[in-house]
């Protein structure tokens, strides 16, 4: 171990102050634990080095879940948003997604303020270079400048900084994002402690001076008139502000030709990049190669903030050399005379193989050491924040001697995210997607509070007042649902005129109002005129009532699927099972099971390389053990 020159004792050390680190540190300190958070640069707290927005398809769900548990991300974007939209409203309620453009500088500054003013929390600039581990138990960390911070728990949230290098064509710099210093020491310490590392890469597009863009050649996209807050605690009336616009444009054959002609100069195709990139967030080079039949790709031009001219060219991340970038961006309608302020680049970094973690995000082999965010092989601010709050809560529970908080796949996208990370073999940066959530009709962004707030309250991150508000909301939803199911309307002339006007078929006999809501052409708000005793309810309650009634059959069927899922989750596998001794298990399955040590039959069934027949063997094994 490195020599230290001074020591400090705290409860929890958080390494890294990005989106994961911020949530983790806030959760720990809010739960009363003395916490210190390290960052390479205090100026880069909650930095958004890539896209200037929070949320979007499935990621918006994560933000709402973080908020339901008592996290900060939703509140922070509500404070600093400059445009907000609910996406996919033409589709079912399960895939409605909230997305807000952030003023990046504001977002970062606002989060920094929250951290700096948080009781029990110390923000410290510095590089953590070594873990202090004794007998597989974490004892603290060493800093590069000689401090030893002894702690009961450590949470690693190093993002993309570990041994980071940025590539723009042949030009390589050994820095983290935005030219920030990379963290070059910690990887060695992790490896020395037996932690298996991966090398991943991701990328970001160019930022262009808005004065050089001809927006008349693009399609303007304004924010929604009625803005829905991310946070369940934000009063929607406080959100109104002038919103900025985003713009839609497209690449074309000329763009693609330039890219193709210069592919040999792309670090990925030239083999310079070793890291694995995300399939779901491909660079423009990848898109042109993989979807060669596509004549154009959609681009979003998004403002980076109110006090900058930088515009983010979403959909066109690249690691091509600067001269190629200059040509290629200028082929896009509206960008003919564009001036690039920051080049697009790819970034490579060290992260861990997340199957080394438990669902609590604690390392299986090192007690008290937790990990969250891009360090765990995910990508995205929201994915990072979601893991951050769970790691923070569970590091706290660990310090307090309580059971960890585990959210399962049927309870939240957070559960899906973490279960996927710790169970499936991640070969690329993991991005959340709605298709990954098999029970997504139940996991809507609109009911995240109803799903998770109680858990947040139980761990101690949700205030009594917020929890009571939730109970009140639940009561209103139940009462109103019940009322609609028991209030009948008859076939009188007012009702039949109304139905006729709505293009709905007439009634043959009296029906409960709930039955009318189920009709495709009607909904809760629409039948207001024939619902005489309707109470005055907040819009979020009305929305829940409408969804519960309208999609009741689907919700019930999905709940049946969840019940089947839960049965297997409840069949627990202890971690001392010697799988190699179980007769009938195939060798590959036994090895995988020994490596993963799944907590349940359910988790075992999701491990690749474990077949249904192997699961049957395990079930017989469990059955035989019970007798």
């Amino acid at each position: 171990m490195k020599e230290y020159t001074f020591t400090e004792n705290v409860d929890v050390v958080v390494v890294g102050a990005g989106h994961a680190g911020c949530e983790a540190a806030l959760a720990c300190s809010r739960l009363g634990l003395e916490t210190v958070i390290f960052t390479i640069s205090i100026n880069s707290i909650a930095l958004m080095p890539c896209n200037p927005n929070i949320g979007g398809s499935s990621k918006g769900h994560l933000v709402r879940e973080i908020d339901a548990l008592g996290g900060e991300m939703g509140k922070n974007i509500d404070k600093t948003y400059i445009q907000s939209r609910m996406l996919n409203v033409s589709k079912g309620p399960a895939v409605h997604s909230l997305r807000a453009q952030a003023d990046k500088a504001e977002y970062s500054a606002s989060m920094r303020q929250v951290l700096e003013n948080q009781d029990n929390l110390t923000v410290k600039q510095g590089e953590v270079c070594e873990l202090i581990i004794e007998d597989n138990v974490i004892r603290g960390v060493m800093t590069y400048t000689g401090g030893a911070y002894f702690a009961k728990a450590v949470i690693l949230c190093t993002g993309t900084y570990l041994n980071a290098r940025c590539l723009t064509g042949e030009a390589i710099t050994y820095t983290g994002p935005n030219g920030l210093m990379a963290a070059t020491h910690l990887t060695d310490s992790l490896k020395a402690n037996g932690i298996k590392m991966f090398r991943f890469k991701t990328g970001t597009p160019a930022r262009i001076d808005r004065r050089s863009i001809d927006f008349s050649k693009m399609e303007e996209q304004k924010g929604d008139d009625e803005v829905v807050p991310f946070s369940f605690s934000t009063d929607p009336s406080t959100l109104s502000k002038d919103q900025v616009s985003c713009y839609l444009t497209y690449t074309n054959e000329e763009t693609h030709k330039i890219i193709r002609d210069n592919l040999d100069r792309s670090p990925i195709y030239a083999g310079i990049i070793e890291g694995t990139g995300p399939r779901y967030c491909p660079s423009i080079e990848d898109k042109v190669v993989r979807f060669s039949e596509k004549k154009r790709h959609q681009l979003f031009v998004e403002p980076e903030g109110l006090h900058t001219n930088e515009m983010y060219i979403s959909g066109m991340s690249s690691s091509l050399p600067e001269d190629v970038q200059r040509q290629m961006y200028r082929t896009v309608p509206g960008l003919e005379n564009c001036r690039i302020m920051r080049n697009a680049y790819a970034i490579e970094y060290d992260c861990i193989d997340p199957v080394q973690l438990k669902h609590s995000l604690e390392f299986k082999n090192i007690k008290g050491l937790f990990a969250a965010g891009q360090f765990n092989g995910s990508s995205g601010y929201e994915e990072a924040g979601a893991q951050g709050i769970i790691a923070g809560i569970n590091a706290s529970m660990y310090c307090l001697g309580k059971d960890p908080l585990i959210i399962d796949r049927s309870e939240g996208y957070i559960g899906v995210l973490i279960d996927d990370l710790v169970t499936k073999e991640t070969k690329e940066p993991y991005r959340m997607m709605t298709s990954r959530a098999e029970y997504r009709l139940l996991l809507r962004q609109d009911n995240a509070d109803l799903r998770l707030r109680k858990k947040g309250y139980d761990v101690g991150l949700i205030s009594e007042a917020d929890y009571n508000a939730l109970l009140k909301k639940e009561r209103m939803i139940n009462d109103e649902t019940e009322r609609l199911k028991t209030t009948y309307v008859g076939n009188n002339s007012r009702v039949s005129d109304f139905l006729k006007n709505m293009g709905s078929s007439p009634l043959k006999s009296g029906v409960p109002l709930s039955e009318l809501i189920c009709r495709p052409e009607l909904d809760y708000d629409l039948i207001g005129p024939i619902d005489d005793n309707r109470p005055d309810l907040p819009s979020d309650v009305r929305q829940q009532v409408n969804i519960n009634i309208k999609y009741e059959g689907y919700i019930e069927r999905q709940e049946r699927q969840v019940a089947a899922f839960k049965k297997l989750e409840k069949k627990k596998l202890s971690d001392d099972i010697d799988y190699s001794s179980i007769k009938g298990l195939r060798l590959e399955a036994a090895q995988k099971l020994d490596m993963y040590k799944p907590v349940s039959i359910g988790q075992a069934s999701r491990i690749s390389g474990v077949s249904p027949a192997d699961i049957s063997v395990l079930l017989v094994y469990l059955g035989a053990k019970d007798h």
Binding site: S57, Y554, G623, H627
Partner: protein
């Protein structure tokens, strides 16, 4: 623990000298006594443990077969429950008939492996036996991939897998469109899916309809034996089946019905359908029999025509030969009774048909090797194919199929009601899982059923 009483044929669906029907559960003895009486026609009054009773199985007094009834009182039985075993004369029809009788008297058909399951649940298996069970299951790791013919019916496996793949494709498409709307368009998709659903539903409904429609056997080379009465068809069957027992168990009252047997000829499983003798007749009933025999032959993979070489070619024989030619059937012609002076010779037949002609004597058992090598030879050359018609013979399969169909109908309803596409995936996923249960690739929530449904310990 109260359980219902289950019954099943314990000796497998193959021709054998003795067939065993096992009944297990609380009402096993009372059900046994309602279908059994002793030789002196007295019903069973007491059930002595581990005792064999000689007597008859009867259907409301009509004797069906001479049997031995064995009594095992729980917990000293294989399953740990009261168990009765009826040992009857082998033959699928007989066993089936007695089983049906037990069912009518209150038992329920046992699912595959259900006896073993009960043994397991009643603590009758120790860990090593459970491990043997695991071995059987794990061997299915390969079996499911390579050759599930024996367990499930290779074509059933294939059909279910095909349908599942179709569903999976649609699921993946919808999911892609949700996550990547730029590259996947759902415009016009509901209409396309409707059409595909109809196709899938048709396949599944046909499968579901095949459940227990009275046909016991599904696999093997569907072989129809044609020929005049007394030409030696039964003797031929006896030789092929390797025993001289009377395998021809005619169904009373319907002498012109067919008799079906499974016969293993040199490793090739023949599903033999013995028709009543075809005879030209003015008798209306007889004519129906003839027509039916030819109808069945139309569906056959192999037609074996037995001709009496000791007499002249009859008009019936000529009709069959014409039929074979017209329908272009794979055919084997056997000239039987070569032990008698030859009247109709090989050359005479050969000029009427392109089929192989073999001279045999069922009485002296000559020519049999040539017959066998013809069948194995044709099979190995791929000229003879297993019947690929699929039957669902398992109640759990039927249930899973029905659930899958129900789920797909829900998808169709969602389309009709113009629900957003993401709703389809709930029911598509359910259908996919239900079907997976049939071929054992979905992990069932019902643990014990899942395990024991997958294998049969042979008991």
């Amino acid at each position: 623990m109260k359980t219902d009483t289950i019954a099943a044929i314990a000796t497998g669906m193959t021709p054998s000298g003795i067939g065993i029907i096992r009944i297990s559960g609380e009402d096993a003895f009372s059900i046994a006594s309602s279908v059994f009486h002793k030789k002196n026609k007295e019903p069973l009054s007491d059930y002595e443990d581990h005792r064999a009773y000689f007597g008859y199985v009867h259907d409301n007094g009509t004797v069906i077969d001479e049997v031995i009834l064995l009594i095992f009182k729980g917990p000293n039985s294989f399953t740990g429950e009261d168990t009765a075993e009826i040992q009857c004369h082998g033959g699928i029809l007989m066993m089936r008939k007695i089983l049906d009788l037990c069912i009518r008297n209150g038992a329920r058909t046992a699912g595959p492996g259900e006896f073993t399951k009960r043994a397991f649940l009643n603590g009758k298996m120790d860990l090593s036996e459970a491990e043997a069970v695991m071995d059987v299951i794990s061997s299915q790791n390969d079996l499911a991939l390579k050759n599930s013919v024996k367990q499930l019916g290779g074509s059933l496996y294939k059909t279910i897998t095909d349908v599942r793949n179709k569903i999976l494709f649609e699921l993946a498409y919808i999911e892609s469109a949700l996550d990547d709307p730029e590259n996947y368009d759902l415009e016009g998709y509901p209409e396309k899916l409707s059409v595909k659903l109809l196709d899938i539903l048709r396949i599944l409904e046909k499968l579901a309809d095949s459940f227990d429609d009275g046909r016991i056997l599904s696999e093997g080379v569907r072989t129809v034996i044609l020929g005049k009465p007394n030409v030696g068809k039964s003797s031929l069957l006896n030789i092929l089946a390797g025993s001289d027992r009377a395998i021809v168990t005619e169904i009373p009252g319907t002498t012109r019905d067919t008799i079906e047997e499974m016969i293993n000829v040199g490793g090739v499983l023949l599903h033999v359908i013995d028709t009543a003798g075809i005879r030209q007749s003015d008798d209306v009933v007889e004519q129906i029999g003839v027509r039916k025999a030819l109808d069945i032959a139309k569906e056959a993979d192999l037609v074996v025509l037995v001709i009496d070489s000791s007499s002249v070619l009859s008009p019936e024989d000529e009709e069959i030969l014409r039929f074979i030619k017209v329908n272009d059937k794979k055919c084997l012609i056997l000239l039987n009774k070569s032990d008698l002076p030859t009247v109709t010779g090989v050359d005479e037949i050969a000029c009427l048909t392109g089929s192989r002609v073999i001279t045999i004597s069922a009485k002296d058992e000559t020519g049999i090797d040539e017959l066998k090598s013809f069948i194995t030879g044709e099979y190995s050359k791929g000229f003879l194919k297993y019947n690929d018609e699929i039957f669902i013979s398992n109640a759990r399969h039927k249930e899973a199929l029905s659930s899958a169909i129900e789920s797909l109908l829900c998808v169709a309803k969602s389309i009709t009601e113009k629900m957003p596409e993401d709703f389809y995936s709930i029911d598509l996923t359910s259908a996919y899982d239900h079907l997976g249960r049939i071929i054992g690739v979905s992990v069932d929530d019902d643990v014990i059923n899942e395990i024991f449904d997958k294998f049969c310990m042979g008991k």
